[in-house]
């Protein structure tokens, strides 16, 4: 059984290496086959692990490959932890990842550099698996950095486009800021506990520190900063909308389903420690809530189809952090799962449109595409309705669970913020759908004629995702008894904050959330089908996301650039080079002085000897 874990973990890495070394020899079909095959095999490994785990009644355990850093204070081994939480995450990663790999075969068929894409994609899956399977914080950090790197490589896939290259750099740099927090938290962990093993830390944190201990608060705060960077929350979210410069399957996989959820996963994984620090949890919840509302507002004003979905991702991640903030970790995980399905569905169906229209993502150039894309538009509509929270589609259950937990735990303000965010979610998603698919076409006729429906290789994965979006709610919801997912995850303590009412349809706030969702969807549908022409221009400050990017540019980047210019042009030549030159000159000067001693003059030598004699005499006499 141990071999299944290692096989599943390292198969994507093997795929990456094979594709890298043989990139010149193998053709496209073989590349696609290899890439998809590795991920499929990894999925099968983890699925079989799941079956074994549930049927053999196993307990969470760790497997160590080798002792990586056997230093006294940092007991970091290459340890993999197998428990329900990591199993859920690996299944999502490999499952959705496999579907996206298959989809990419169709999406990237016009590309020259086919192999590089799939190699990086495999590398990404490996790093993400490493992240979720890591039993050790240091190993988790390796995977953390790896997915950041993969994200950079894939966003900047079309590197000859300056916008893409800049977006990739921005993603990496903003991530790095978060990683600094993570690294400091990591060092603090080593300092406090002397080990990085997550299971051990979770065990000992409660025993060694009191509830609300400041040093633990600092630790969780630092880890949360890392999560903020990776999961694109305020104030480190600016990289995610720009990351849409990458290919759409990349956006689907990395920036919707898996990488950005790494932050949520971190918080859930370290939840025993987080539960001990209520102040940090409050901060988590507050950041999540504000971010979700903020991003939802920005999404309302976007003209680019993929950016709407990007801001939607930020908003939904905010909801997940909101759930974590009140201690309802299971709700966050459930929403993570359904969000993975639904967001991937949305992105891939949008990708269908983008691909068949040869790269256009501006909704101002779309419209009336439902006639051209008969199947895709149904898929997109499914995704829109699911995300908005219309029952009985998947995300309704998860989002409703979050709202309910907020309400029951008594966090009134956060509840209303989440409600407002849900309203706006329905609004902007439906707006996107209407602008793109309904109404009169804003394209010229001849362009419209050239566009046709996507090929099956791109449609089938999307359809599978649509099915999962519809049926996925059953994973976490069941009438009357404990749902499958909840029971599964309860083993590691990932539970809810408050007890779930037995029948949710009896509670008033459920009906309230359904009502809100319907209002959101309906309003947008109404506005953008009837009055699309008049209200097409959104507010500028919403489109520019409240000018946060400009703020960062003026406030941080420009001073930094000035500082580095100062250092490079003035400080470095004068001070660093100057000090080295000073050493040289000093040495030369001293040697020149010393050279003059050896003048070749006999009398000077005799004088030196006399001086020596004098010293000797004085020494001997005294």
């Amino acid at each position: 059984m141990e071999y299944a874990v290692w096989l599943g973990l390292f198969l994507p890495l093997a795929g990456f290496l094979i594709l890298t070394v043989s990139s010149h020899y193998i053709g496209r079909r073989l590349t696609g086959w290899i890439a998809c095959f590795t991920i499929l095999m990894a999925f099968i490994c983890f699925a079989s692990l799941l079956l074994i785990y549930t049927h053999a009644d196993m307990t969470p355990q760790s497997f160590t490959l080798y002792n990586w850093i056997p230093v006294d204070k940092i007991q970091a081994g290459f340890t993999v932890r197998l428990d329900p939480l990591s199993l859920v995450m690996t299944l999502i990663i490999t499952g959705v990842g496999f579907l996206i790999h298959v989809y990419s075969n169709g999406y990237m068929e016009h590309e020259e550099d086919f192999v590089r894409y799939f190699a990086f994609l495999n590398f990404f899956v490996f790093c993400m698996l490493l992240l979720v399977l890591a039993g050790n914080l240091l190993l988790l950090f390796v995977g953390w950095e790896g997915v950041g790197l993969a994200s950079y490589l894939l966003i900047g896939y079309w590197y000859h486009r300056p916008a893409a290259a800049q977006a990739a750099t921005k993603a990496f740099v903003v991530n790095r800021i978060g990683d600094l927090g993570f690294l400091l938290g990591l060092l603090l962990t080593f300092h406090l506990f002397g080990t990085g093993d997550i299971a051990e830390i979770s065990d000992r944190a409660g025993k060694e520190f009191a509830m609300g201990a400041p040093v633990l608060g600092l630790l969780t705060l630092l880890l949360f900063i890392g999560a903020v960077g990776k999961s694109a929350q305020l104030p480190l979210y600016t990289w995610l909308p720009d990351a849409m410069e990458g290919p759409t399957p990349v956006s689907a996989l990395i920036h919707a389903a898996t990488m950005v959820t790494a932050g949520v996963y971190l918080v859930v994984r370290m939840h025993p420690v987080f539960m001990l620090t209520p102040s940090t949890l409050h901060l988590v919840g507050a950041v999540g809530g504000v971010t979700s509302l903020f991003a939802a507002l920005c999404a309302v004003g976007q003209t680019d189809l993929k950016r709407v979905l990007a801001y939607s991702t930020v908003s939904q991640l905010g909801l997940m952090f909101l759930a974590c903030g009140i201690g309802a970790f299971y709700a966050a995980m459930f929403h993570l799962t359904t969000h993975a399905f639904v967001k991937a569905l949305l992105f891939l169906s949008a990708g269908n449109v983008v691909h068949m229209m040869h790269g256009t993502t501006d909704m101002g150039k779309m419209g009336g595409l439902s006639k051209v894309f008969p199947k895709t538009h149904w898929l997109f509509l499914t995704g829109v309705l699911a995300m908005s929270g219309i029952p009985p589609l998947a995300a309704f259950f998860s989002k409703d669970l979050i709202l309910e937990q907020e309400y029951l735990a008594g966090f009134e303000v956060l509840f209303f913020i989440a409600l407002a965010a849900s309203l706006l979610t329905g609004f902007y998603l439906t707006r996107a759908y209407c602008l793109a698919f309904t109404g009169k076409s804003r394209l010229e006729d001849h362009v419209l004629k050239a566009v046709k429906e996507a090929p099956p290789v791109m449609l089938i994965p999307v359809s599978i995702l649509a099915f999962l979006s519809i049926a996925g709610g059953l994973l976490g919801f069941a009438f009357g008894k404990t749902p499958i997912l909840e029971g599964f995850l309860a083993e590691v303590g990932v539970t809810l904050a408050e007890k779930e009412p037995s029948n949710i349809f009896l509670s008033p706030e459920t009906w309230l959330s359904i009502l809100i969702a319907v209002i959101g969807v309906g309003t947008a549908a109404l506005i953008y089908t009837q009055w699309a022409d008049r209200l097409r221009q959104p507010f500028a400050f919403l489109t520019r996301s409240f000018y946060v990017n400009e703020l960062y540019w003026k406030g941080i980047v420009v001073p930094l650039k000035a500082l580095s210019r100062f250092i490079a042009n003035f400080f470095e030549p004068k001070v660093f080079d100057g000090s080295i030159q000073a050493v040289t000159y000093t040495a030369q000067g001293v040697s020149r002085r010393l050279q003059e001693v050896q003048s070749g003059q006999i009398r000077s030598y005799v004088a030196w000897m006399v001086v020596g004699t004098v010293i000797l005499i004085v020494y001997l006499v005294i």
């Binding site: 003048s599 009398r603 000077s604 001086v611 004098v614 005499i617 006499v621």
Partner: protein, 168 residues
């Protein structure tokens, strides 16, 4: 003030003046003659100090051989001696002066510690300083250094011959 003492005083004054003469002479021939005077008065001083053999050796070797060689070489270079004053000195005079002054000071310091050293109580044995006694000491007690010095002398002779040879 005994006779020995008076002799010593006179010889001391002569010695000092003749050594000053060596160092301060304008022409090198004059310096050489001053050297001769120094050597001779030293020989008398040795005699006064009960070392007859050494006195004779001094006259024979130093005054008879070394001084003569010096005179020969001075005469050989007689044209070059005057030209020295025409060229600027190359060594730093300040440093030389400082060294000389320091040395004088230290010698004075040393000398101040050595005042009042008494001689032995005249218990010289019979034949002290004579040829037989010294010869016995050389050939019996200090035979190895004696032979070594002889060898050194041989090497010096050969070396001097070789160095002074004119290249053909």
């Amino acid at each position: 003030m005994t006779i020995a003492n008076a002799t010593q005083w006179i010889l001391a004054i002569v010695l000092i003046f003749s050594s000053l003469g060596i160092v301060l002479a304008r022409k090198p021939v004059h310096a050489c003659l001053s050297f001769l005077l120094t050597l001779l008065s030293l020989a008398v001083l040795y005699l006064q100090l009960s070392a007859p053999f050494i006195a004779v050796m001094q006259v024979l070797v130093y005054a008879g051989a070394i001084l003569v060689i010096f005179m020969f070489v001075i005469v050989l270079f007689q044209d070059a001696h005057a030209q020295i004053d025409k060229v600027q000195a190359n060594s730093a005079p300040l440093f030389l002066t400082f060294a000389a002054g320091a040395f004088l000071a230290s010698l004075g310091f040393l000398g101040s510690r050595l005042i009042g050293i008494e001689a032995s109580k005249d218990k010289l044995f019979e034949g002290y300083g004579s040829v037989e006694a010294l010869g016995k000491a050389l050939y019996v007690d200090f035979f190895f250094p004696f032979e070594a010095v002889v060898l050194l002398f041989l090497i010096a002779v050969i070396g001097a011959l070789y160095i002074g040879k004119k290249e053909i």
